[in-house]
């Protein structure tokens, strides 16, 4: 399976790899700054994340060299394993910050919901590959994808982790759209459901609303959320054009930013590098995302195209939601910034995703 074909090596997707490595580098650098402490050259967070990055690169290589077309046969196996790991989290997971999201494996703990993001893309691509882009999508065909999304979504909601559920929902929706979901249908659904949601919400009593919110998002402090957004906006804005310089951010070093190395890592970056740095970072993400869609378009088959499109969409939605959230344009939900936010499982899953994308790209001429 890991037979390395000379032709495959020749087709290695260098641009994507290069963009990825640049982003991982930016991430490590920012985490170092976000967790920097006087008199300590390297924070433990930085060291740990570096180790995860190395592990991630290994995962990337592994994900690159098997033939992704095996997923036709094993896509559902990947999915079932992922769902089982989520069940395990619900039963015997490690608690932290009011949620139960991790599984302990000796010295490390893994967050199965990060890998569930990939598993959902894999299973949807497998399921939709047969008819994507062909005949008009019948409603009946939507049932299986919806069910495939609903099971992990329910399990993740129970942890609870609303942010990840929203993300997986958006990604599943994106894959369906690319696969051929009629836009008319989407429009009608939006017109029906859209107004109904706030209407229904209004009819709930305040304490019911509070209960739902605090159930879905136990860490959300009704006050803290607004405060965090304030602080994050101040940090980003105070970077101005050129930024305060590396390791010079004050909001961060004074510990005013909440979770400055995870969900709010972008505010640390933006404070230190200013508009110029932030815009460049966004440019890197844009290049990676557009390159992803190009790879999808050039793929050998539907499975490859949908797989890459889905994984690209995952990165896209995370970037958009996270930066919109840290800059105060969206309410705070726990969604991390790809490659920059601290988190081993997240980085490992992302680099595996990149490996899969390169896998598809390498085999575009294969037969």
């Amino acid at each position: 399976m890991l037979r390395i074909d000379r032709r495959l090596v020749a087709n290695i997707e260098w641009p994507l790899l290069l963009l990825t490595l640049l982003l991982v580098g930016c991430g490590l650098m920012t985490i170092l700054s976000a967790t920097y402490q006087e008199g300590q050259p390297f924070s433990t967070h930085f060291v740990k994340q570096s180790i995860w990055a190395v592990a991630g690169l290994v995962a990337l290589l592994v994900a690159m060299f098997f033939d992704y077309r095996l997923l036709h046969r094993y896509g559902y196996v990947v999915y079932v394993v992922s769902v089982l790991s989520l069940v395990l989290v619900n039963i015997a997971g490690i608690r932290g910050g009011g949620a139960q999201r991790w599984i302990g494996l000796g010295p490390v703990s893994l967050q199965p919901s990060e890998f569930a993001k990939i598993a959902v893309v894999v299973v949807l691509a497998t399921n939709l590959a047969r008819w994507a882009g062909g005949s008009r999508l019948a409603i009946g065909r939507l049932l299986a994808p919806i069910a495939l999304f609903a099971v992990p979504a329910f399990l993740i909601l129970r942890q609870p982790d609303l942010g990840t559920v929203i993300l997986i929902g958006l990604v599943a929706f994106s894959v369906l759209l690319v696969a051929g979901l009629p836009l008319r249908l989407v429009l009608i659904a939006a017109l029906v459901v859209g107004p109904a949601l706030p209407f229904g919400w209004q009819h709930l009593k305040p304490y019911q609303q509070k209960r739902i919110v605090s159930f879905l998002n136990p860490q959300a402090d009704p006050l803290g959320a607004g405060y965090h957004t304030h602080q994050s906006k101040i940090a980003i804005g105070s970077g101005m054009v050129h930024g305060k310089g590396y390791l010079q951010g004050t909001q961060n070093s004074l510990h005013f930013l909440p979770e400055q190395h995870t969900d709010f890592v972008f505010s640390v970056f933006a404070e230190e590098w200013g508009f110029v740095g932030s815009a460049l970072l966004l440019l890197l993400y844009a290049a990676l995302i557009l390159r992803g869609f190009v790879i999808a378009g050039k793929a050998k088959d539907n499975l490859g195209a949908l797989l890459v499109a889905g994984l690209t969409a995952t990165v896209f939605w995370q970037v958009v939601i996270n930066i919109a959230m840290t800059s105060g344009a969206l309410p705070v939900v726990g969604i991390t910034l790809p490659f920059l936010s601290y988190g081993g499982s997240s980085l490992l899953a992302l680099l595996t995703s990149i490996g899969l994308m390169m896998n598809v790209s390498m085999r575009r001429h294969a037969y």
């Binding site: 036709h72 009011g98 994507a132 882009g133 062909g134 994106s174 759209l177 690319v178 696969a179 051929g180 136990p218 009704p222 006050l223 607004g226 405060y227 304030h230 906006k233 101040i234 980003i236 804005g237 105070s238 970077g239 101005m240 054009v241 909001q251 004074l254 510990h255 005013f256 933006a270 404070e271 200013g274 508009f275 932030s278 815009a279 966004l282 993400y285 844009a286 995302i289 557009l290 869609f293 190009v294 999808a296 378009g297 050039k298 793929a299 050998k300 088959d301 539907n302 490859g304 195209a305 969409a313 896209f316 970037v319 958009v320 930066i323 919109a324 800059s327 105060g328 344009a329 037969y367």
Partner: protein, 612 residues
């Protein structure tokens, strides 16, 4: 096996749309950053200096606790604390010293403050002094310029209006501990939480929801403007079933004696009074109890922190005879006309079991035996019933298990039987052990709450879970939750049998030779039962209880219900190590509280207005 075909045109077209949409979204983000970093960059940079935007909490007012007539027992009032943000002071030590001067603090206090100021997240307030006087608040406000970084914070303080009254039930509050913080993420350092009693059990309902303000401050930490505010939501009010007048009267009737009084409404389980003496003042715990106060409370041999009403377990003595009498009549061991002779003792095997009256009672029916509390009568009856049958009836009356009152750590007493002894002591039951059980001694123990519960069951034929909280109301007075009365058991005993036992208890108080005459209330038919339970078996009969060391003296019991014809209240009185038997010591206490109940009914109308 893998189909080899190009990706369809439609799919590729959709990927192009996706690329366009993604680019557009990312462009919007760049615009957002431009707006923040370039258009508003300077303003935000100014705010970031010295962290001008701060989050200040608004502590929710903890809910009140009121009695069944709405009289306030516990409430929160504003307390002013001096706090300081070290980062806002130019010279921390200097500021603390000036502050100490205005607040009359010692050098030791100052060092404590400086200690608290180190090793804590930056820009977080440090508490300097709690509960400032009016003069101290004025001093800080007028010398603000000398005291950069110092401010006055308003926090609610718990006020227990009645002091020691009902203290064991109400409990007290204290600062959240490290363990509490670890256990739950609902708390934060410095929060006031319920530590015992109702304050602890209903903490979540009482605490409310904290609010906060985002404020902009100047260079010395003074507020310039409020950016955003979330109001705190006050906690709920706890409406108790307890009547403050009855509670006071129960505590006064006990006086200096050590013991407990529990008064219930047997028709719905309402706890009308629950006294445990001696008591403590929960106000002492405000803002942390001083160590000398704590030592005094813990070191006292009379154990003021102990809730005797349902955590104290005592042999019920002769009060238990009401259970045995009911069992004997129901099982047909005796009938109302059966007479048993008492010669002052009863022989079983080689042992003599004595009656409290050495000379004997002569021929007695069950009613006479209850009225005069004849031990021999019950030895004989108990022997015929056997311990397992006695235990079965005792459990029917709710003994041997906790009654289920909402407060925690309730004790269930002991109702022994063969099975219990085999399990607990790994020994068989000896016939001679049944006799003490029949008069409420031996292994039998019960709490005062259980005995009030049991005599209430006799009064109405049913048992309700003791209900301490009637309802929860929000700060506006709307009912959030009503706690319904809960039927937990019925006596499977014929009405005629119950009437016979009730009659016996009426004779205890009414008959010229009854043991409980001192519980009589004028104009009201009180039915009760006395009890005197041995703590240790003394070698010789003491002439006077005063000759016996305090902690070896007998416990005095009295249980009662009234009015006998249509019972409204049940009461149990226990006096630990009393100066005399139940009739002499406990019955007058019950009489006094019952009298207060019926006097109040004349003044205010029926106590019972809560829905059943």
């Amino acid at each position: 096996m893998f189909g080899s075909h190009e990706v369809p045109v439609d799919l590729r077209r959709r990927l192009v749309y996706a690329s366009a949409a993604a680019s557009f979204a990312l462009l919007l983000l760049v615009l957002r950053l431009w707006w923040l970093q370039i258009l508003h960059g300077e303003d935000l940079a100014a705010l970031s200096e010295n962290n001008r935007i701060r989050l200040r909490r608004i502590t929710a007012t903890r809910g009140r606790i009121v009695d069944r007539r709405g009289r306030v027992l516990v409430e929160s009032e504003a307390s002013y604390d001096a706090v300081l943000v070290p980062e806002d002071t130019k010279d921390l030590e200097g500021t603390v010293e000036i502050l100490a001067h205005y607040l009359g603090q010692s050098a030791a206090d100052t060092t404590a403050v400086l200690e608290r100021a180190s090793g804590r997240p930056r820009f977080q307030e440090v508490l300097v002094k709690r509960d400032l006087s009016f003069e101290e608040v004025v001093a800080i406000e007028t010398h603000q310029t000398e005291l950069p970084g110092v401010s006055v914070r308003v926090t609610p303080k718990r006020l227990y209006r009645e002091g020691v009254t009902l203290a064991h039930v109400l409990g007290y509050t204290g600062e959240v501990s490290r363990e509490d913080l670890k256990r739950s993420n609902r708390y934060r350092g410095g929060d006031l939480i319920g530590k015992s009693g109702l304050e602890q059990i209903f903490d979540e309902q009482l605490r409310g929801v904290n609010g906060g303000r985002h404020v902009e401050v100047d260079a010395v930490g003074r507020e310039i403007r409020v950016l955003d505010k979330v109001d705190a939501a006050a906690g709920n009010t706890l409406v108790l079933s307890v009547d403050l007048d009855l509670q006071r009267s129960a505590e006064q009737a006990l006086g200096e004696q050590v013991g407990a009084v529990v008064m219930l409404d047997p028709r719905n389980g309402d706890v009308l009074a629950m006294a445990s003496q001696p008591s403590f003042d929960p106000n002492l715990f405000n803002g942390g109890i001083r160590s000398e106060d704590w030592k005094q409370l813990i070191g006292n041999i009379r154990k003021p922190m102990t809730q005797r009403a349902f955590r104290g377990q005592y042999p019920p003595g002769s009060t238990f005879k009401l259970v045995v009498a009911a069992a004997a009549l129901q099982e047909g061991v005796i009938n109302p006309f059966t007479k048993i002779g008492c010669s002052g003792s009863h022989r079983l095997g080689r042992r003599d079991f004595r009656c409290w009256r050495r000379g004997g009672h002569g021929q007695m029916t069950v009613i006479d035996a209850l009225a005069q509390s004849c031990d021999v009568f019950f030895y004989q009856v108990g022997q015929k019933l056997g311990v397992d049958t006695i235990a079965k009836y005792a459990r029917m009356f709710g003994m041997g298990e906790p009654t289920g009152i909402v407060l925690g750590h309730e004790k269930g007493g002991v109702i022994p039987d063969r099975h219990w002894k085999r399990e607990r002591l790994k020994e068989p039951w000896y016939p001679g052990e049944t006799l003490p059980v029949a008069i409420g001694q031996g292994y039998v123990t019960a709490t005062p709450l259980q005995m009030a519960h049991a005599v209430g069951a006799l009064a109405v034929g049913e048992r309700y879970r003791p209900r301490l909280v009637l309802r929860l109301e929000d700060a506006g007075g709307d009912v959030v939750e009503s706690i319904p009365a809960e039927l937990v058991g019925e006596l499977e005993i014929k009405g005629g049998v119950l009437d016979e036992v009730r009659h016996g208890l009426l004779e205890v108080v009414q008959h010229p030779r009854g043991t409980g005459k001192r519980a009589a209330v004028e104009g009201i038919a009180v039915a009760g039962k006395t009890g005197t339970s041995q703590v240790v078996t003394l070698a010789a009969d003491p002439k006077d209880s005063k000759d016996v060391p305090w902690n070896q003296r007998d416990h005095a019991w009295f249980v009662a219900f009234a009015p006998a014809a249509e019972p409204e209240v049940a009461i149990a009185v226990l006096v630990e190590h009393a100066d005399g038997g139940g009739g002499k010591v406990a019955a007058p206490v019950a009489g006094a509280v019952l009298e207060e109940y019926f006097r109040m009914q004349l003044d205010f109308g029926p106590v019972r207005y809560a829905e059943n």
